[in-house]
């Protein structure tokens, strides 16, 4: 690890000022992404501003049945929160499918939103990697890319977005609240992440020094059910090969609301609006789900070793939808 100065943030505004003041300063929350990558010399901040104890730790009801969650709420606390378990099972399931109990006790909502890819060439610190060292190339394109993305990639980068939580948040229509050097803003989830394009080092629309203070989302439609399904190489403590978060509302025998997002296969949490549109107004049958899965993977670009993900994620979508439709 390179040397750095450590300071505990006195408050949100002070933290923003401290990080904004130095181009290499970073916020530290649970540390489970940042400290890991600092040990690998992939992240090399010269200042860490520890925001882990700022009181951004509340889960509060918002009018109409939604929730407002502070950036420092730990992943385990959010997963087991009564309101989340009862009304947003997709989020609880996604959180509990991620990492381990120990990691979830440390990991925060803010940190999870900004966790980095697990692409092995990004993490090794030496291979050509446009995300880590812009302009150096992409070792994954012609390398061991079994875990890489088939959707949303470019010829600069095919890094998979690793988070489970974010896939669930994509179907909850979350808004991300921030406080930055230019003031406060509320960013819709759909606008928050960037596809790599030619600048894979830029992953979100956040400015340097912009602090996530929390997330907020509205209630689901009254009759809607939600679910997260994750498929991976071992039963637990492993990142997704393919996953799907789904929200489905069926009334009078036809689908009235459908939301589907994919994980493990794309460069950012991946909503599939065309597949959702196809489902609405149809009967919730196996054929409709298969058709939606087909549409969801349109435009997928399989690479040398990850072609299996296209078929796998289609099956994951179908099974996730069948599970919620069954009740």
């Amino acid at each position: 690890m390179n040397p750095f100065d450590y300071a505990r943030a006195a408050g949100a505004a002070a933290a923003v000022t401290q990080v904004a003041a130095s181009p290499r300063a970073k916020f530290l929350a649970g540390g489970t992404t940042l400290i890991d990558l600092m040990k690998l010399h992939v992240e090399t901040p010269d200042t860490l501003v520890d925001i882990g104890r700022l009181p951004l730790d509340k889960v509060e009801a918002v009018a109409g049945g939604g929730l407002a969650v502070g950036a420092n709420v730990r992943n385990s606390d959010l997963a087991y929160h009564d309101a989340v378990l009862a009304r947003f099972p997709v989020l609880s399931e996604a959180l509990l499918s991620g990492a381990s109990p120990q990691l979830r006790n440390a990991a925060t909502v803010g940190g999870n939103l900004l966790q980095r890819t697990r692409c092995p060439y990004f993490r090794d610190g030496v291979s050509p990697c446009n995300k880590r060292a812009p302009g150096s190339g992409c070792a994954a394109l012609g390398g061991h890319n079994r875990g890489n993305a088939v959707l949303g990639g470019s010829e600069s980068c095919i890094a998979t977005s690793a988070s489970d939580m974010c896939v669930a948040m994509a179907v909850l229509n979350v808004t991300i609240k921030t406080q930055g050097p230019k003031g406060e803003r509320a960013i819709p989830f759909a606008d928050f992440y960037l596809v790599p394009g030619e600048t894979p080092e830029r992953e979100t629309v956040l400015d340097h020094g912009e602090l996530i203070v929390g997330v907020e989302w509205p209630a689901l439609p009254a009759g809607a059910k939600s679910h997260y399904l994750k498929v991976r190489d071992r039963a637990s403590y492993q990142f997704a090969l393919a996953s799907a978060a789904v929200v489905l509302e069926v009334a009078g025998g036809v689908v009235t609301t459908a939301r589907v997002a994919l994980g493990g296969v794309a460069t950012k949490p991946w909503r599939v609006p065309d597949a959702e549109k196809l489902l609405v107004g149809r009967k919730p049958t196996a054929e409709a789900f298969a058709a939606a899965a087909e549409v969801a993977t349109k435009g997928a670009v399989p690479r040398t070793f990850n072609g299996f993900k296209v078929a796998l994620v289609r099956r994951v979508i179908v099974r996730a939808l069948e599970t919620v439709a069954a009740g």
Binding site: G31, T32, K39, S100, L103, A106
Partner: protein, 201 residues
């Protein structure tokens, strides 16, 4: 510490702690060190108050020191083990504020002010913690390297109270890898203590 002709990493860190290098990498000597040796760039040693198994320690540490290295190399509490140093094995599991976390991905500085409990703090005098006794009874280890982490993790699991069935215990212990494959016996030990505590209530 016995003399060692082939200094290992711990000797190195201790040598630095004693002022062996010009830079105050880390020190147990107290907050005076950083002032006596003005830093030229980032990475100044900072005062860190750690409370481990009920004992307070006023340390001056390089901010880079993880909780795991502070426990093992500075406080010589070597019960907590380093497996991967990257959050992937659970050997370093300790309890901070009563919650199980990976000490390797936790900066020592960031837990200042929070009580830390390690495997050394589980027994009461000569009385083993019920989980320690159950691990012995059920042969829940072979080489023992993962065991301190398994024990602290199991203490956290019982407190969290989200596991009832064997499958749930397995899932809730999945953050602790065991190369010797003692998993079935770990589950048996955890279940015995969980059920005994339930029956006692």
């Amino acid at each position: 510490m016995p003399p060692d002709p082939d200094p290992d990493r711990r000797d190195f860190i201790q040598g630095v702690a004693a002022g062996g290098l010009g830079v105050a990498l880390l020190s147990t000597a107290g907050p005076g060190v950083a002032a006596a040796d003005p830093p030229t760039g980032p990475g100044r040693a900072i005062p860190v108050q750690l409370t481990v198994n009920g004992q307070d320690h006023a340390l001056t540490l390089d901010p880079r020191i993880s909780l795991l290295d502070a426990l093992r190399e500075v406080l010589h509490l070597t019960g907590t083990k380093k497996g991967c140093d990257h959050g992937q094995c659970g050997a370093c599991t300790v309890l901070v504020d009563g919650r199980r976390v990976n000490a390797c991905l936790t900066l020592a500085a960031s837990v200042a002010g929070s009580p830390v409990r390690t495997v050394e703090g589980l027994a009461t005098g000569d009385d083993l913690h019920p989980l320690q006794a159950a691990f012995i009874k059920h042969d829940a280890f072979q080489c023992g390297y993962c065991t301190p982490g398994q024990l602290c993790s199991a203490v956290g699991l019982l407190k969290e109270a989200h596991a009832t069935t064997d499958d749930e215990v397995r899932e809730q212990m999945s953050g602790n890898l065991c190369r010797c494959g003692a998993y079935p016996n770990v589950v048996a030990a955890v279940q015995e203590v969980r059920l005994a505590a339930r029956d006692a209530r």
